[in-house]
Amino acid sequence: MTIEELKPIIEALVFVSEEPIPIKQITSLLEGENIDDIKTACDELTQEFNARNSGLEMRLLAGGYRISTRPELNEYVRRYLKAQPTARLSLAALETLAVIAYKQPITIPEILEIRGKSSTSAIKTLLDRRLIVPRGHKPVVGRPMLYGTSKEFLIQFGLNDVSELPSLEDFEDLVTN
């Protein structure tokens, strides 16, 4: 292989590698190729990355190559990470949300009873993400707060109305098969 042919392969390998990928490992993956050519390709690739007006850089780090965003752009990257889409939920939050969606309006003790697990932090997450909203108090002793799903919930899950939520009957055939 020529150096020009080696470069895209190395670039792809560095890109998917979780840890900085050592040149030794690249060489063993490209068995039969000239080691000096591989080294030259790595060098050229690094230089090209850094010469380009790019948002990414390739560096030799801890004995291996790695592609990462440029430190100057940290501010934007951090801004992005903070604004992660709200549809991403932990399993605990998802379970709690499912219970609320199907049993709304519902109180925290009732959620605990169905899930068999304390759900307070999940409820906090769901409230922070505006997926659920308080729906007044239940007229029983202690007047516990009732919760239901929000408009944001409908948008996130592509529903027009909570009545559009799939029911147990909808999937009975599928589930039993």
């Binding site: 979780e18 990257v77 939920l89 499912a98 899950f157 799939p166």
Partner: protein, 272 residues
């Protein structure tokens, strides 16, 4: 037919996108191969399309008698090879026979030619539609093969800070179902634990003895879910012995203790 069995014919990744149609080659004389090929006809329309191709006839003018005959031969072969023949195949057979008999009927001479409805028309449309979707499935297969060859970047530290899952309405439903199942399982255990009374255990042992003359004590104890239940069973057995309802037998030292329903005293065996 079981759709899962079909997956094995497509489970192997192809280096190059190939056509899924290639799997629809005609059956050969080799029986095991014959079977595999037949499994590919996962629906009656697939089998019909195959026959139309094999007989080199047109979808627009299907020689219905010939195709029906062939169809029935394949259906019989599938049954003989013990491939589960789904109801749809039989429905199609009935449809074909109906069309065939319909075409044998003499035409009403008073109706002009162009107003005569071809009994094959509906089947023809169905086949054309089915074939279009087969071609579309083939296109999807090729796209997925190419797409599966692209890889996104490795996990960043930032991903690990945010180890969460995104969800669709179906996941929401599945999660809810799991929560309900979990709750049901817990409830069942609790009910079982609460209701283990000695009286019920006595009834349970008596029922077991009605079913088979002898019951190993070990088996009875193994039905217990908790230590408390073991104790209750033990007490129940003692109670039954006291009532002279059962007899415990042990044919050898450290051997299995067998519970036998007591009819009349028998001194030939050692009793505990």
């Amino acid at each position: 037919m079981n759709e899962a069995t079909n997956s094995k014919t497509t489970a192997q990744p192809a280096a190059q996108p190939t056509s899924v149609d290639e799997q629809l080659s005609p059956p050969t004389e080799n029986t095991s191969q014959y079977k595999v090929k037949l499994e590919v006809f996962e629906g009656p329309l697939d089998l019909l399309l195959f026959l139309i191709k094999k007989e080199e006839v047109s979808i627009y003018d299907i020689p219905i008698a010939r195709i029906t005959e062939q169809y029935l031969v394949y259906l019989k072969a599938m049954q003989e090879l013990d491939i589960g023949v789904a109801g749809e195949f039989l429905v199609m057979a009935a449809t074909l026979i109906q069309i065939k008999s319909h075409m044998l009927l003499p035409r009403d001479p008073t109706i002009p030619e162009e107003e005569l409805d071809d009994p094959r028309k509906e089947l023809m449309y169905q086949l054309l539609e089915h074939q279009k979707f087969k071609a579309a499935a083939n296109m999807l297969y090729q796209r997925a093969t190419i797409e599966a060859g692209t890889f996104s970047r490795a996990d960043l530290d930032a991903d690990k800070i945010n180890p969460e899952i995104s969800a669709t309405v179906y996941q929401l439903f599945e999660v809810f179902r799991e929560v309900l199942n979990r709750k049901k399982a817990i409830t069942e255990i609790e009910i079982a634990r609460e209701e283990q009374t000695m009286a019920e255990k006595i009834v349970e042992i008596k029922t077991l003895l009605k079913q088979s003359k002898e019951v190993r004590a070990r088996d009875v104890f193994e039905r217990a879910h908790t230590r408390r239940e073991c104790v209750v069973i033990f007490l129940a057995i003692l109670e039954l012995v006291k009532e002279l309802a059962i007899r415990l037998q042990q044919s050898e030292t450290f051997g299995d203790i067998v519970i036998v329903e007591r009819e009349e005293p028998d001194s030939s065996q050692s009793e505990i």
